[in-house]
């Protein structure tokens, strides 16, 4: 047994032991927040409680979380420029794949739109829709289709910050009409939340896609390519 394994086993045992102790010995829970959420739901502008928590009651968390996502993309940009990349990977040039994508791509956009719209009343919302958009982008990318150097344009950066900017603008708009930051007037809550979600979906989707796109490209993994990279 090397010391590292022993150390890991001890730490793991301690953690599980402590968690077990905490779960078995925990006091009678007093959780009333779900009732509070249910009571205020009608004033939140959406009827799905999770969306209400994410985009109204605790919207500041969501705002900062978009910042976290954006930050990861910024670092990817920064490192990409520090070191120049080799030639781009070619992608899987496959006719069947192209045919499948021709069908799948619009379908994915459609489902993303549905998820966004559904988020107000039932499961779904900007994150899931954004992830689907990103997946659609990755699919295109795998098929060798790429938006020509779009990543390095002002437009790309504008799409990235769009969600955060709209979120901030809506928050400030709420302040302009006399509320707190991000305090939607109940009558306007629905359209505000939908607008924010739409912007977030675009930015989240593009950010997740960029994290894939901005990673250093590698040559196609075949023998020839490997030899090229060795030299």
């Amino acid at each position: 047994m090397n010391p590292r394994t022993v150390c890991a086993a001890v730490m793991c045992g301690m953690l599980v032991g402590l968690l077990g102790l905490a779960i078995t010995m925990r006091p009678e829970a007093v959780i009333t927040l779900p009732e509070r959420v249910a009571a205020e739901l009608s004033r939140s502008g959406v009827s799905h409680p999770v969306t209400a928590v994410l985009l109204n009651f605790r919207s500041l968390d969501t705002l900062l979380e978009i910042g976290v996502l954006l930050l990861a993309v910024v670092v990817a940009y920064a490192l990409r420029e520090t070191q120049a990349d080799p030639a781009d990977r070619m992608g899987l040039d496959n006719r069947l794949l192209h045919a499948v994508i021709a069908w799948l791509f619009p379908l994915m956009l459609l489902v993303a739109g549905y998820l966004l719209w559904a988020g107000a009343t039932r499961p779904g919302g900007a994150f899931q829709a954004g992830a689907l958009l990103a997946a659609a982008g990755v699919l295109l990318r795998l098929a060798g289709i790429r938006p020509s150097d779009f990543a390095h344009t002002l437009g790309a950066r504008a799409v990235l910050v769009f969600g955060l900017a709209v979120f901030l603008a809506v928050g400030l708009g709420a302040m302009a009409v006399g509320g707190h930051f991000l305090e939607y007037p109940p009558a306007w809550a629905s359209p505000f939340i939908f607008g924010v979600e739409l912007a977030l979906m675009l930015s989240i989707g593009f950010a997740l896609f960029s994290l894939f796109e901005l990673a250093p490209p590698h040559p196609v993994s075949n023998k020839g390519a490997r030899e090229r990279s060795e030299t």
């Binding site: 779904g124 899931q128 990755v138 997740l208 040559p219």
Partner: protein
């Protein structure tokens, strides 16, 4: 239904162990994606469909793609078999 959940929990744990212990990194990543999909099932059982959707799309899907892409990058650059020895 509790026995079904217990079965799911056990499968989840076994997948996690396999993903962490697999000698092949590629197999570990694939098992991790399976783990993510099982997590999505768990979220459905916990009446959290929002998380289930996000877990399947982001947790398993995108993280999996990023991991696989990185794996391809490692192998595309050079043979890392010798590096992997002893890391398992």
């Amino acid at each position: 239904m509790l026995w079904l959940d217990a079965l799911l929990a056990v499968t989840l744990l076994i997948t996690a162990v396999l993903a962490l212990a697999s000698p092949s990194l590629f197999r570990a990543v694939v098992l991790f994606i399976v783990f993510g999909l099982l997590m999505a099932l768990v979220w459905v059982r916990l009446e959290a469909p929002d998380i289930a959707l996000a877990e399947a799309a982001i947790g398993a899907g995108l993280t999996g793609v990023l991991l696989l892409d990185t794996l391809g990058y490692l192998h595309g650059q050079r043979d890392v078999a010798d590096e992997e020895e002893g890391a398992g």
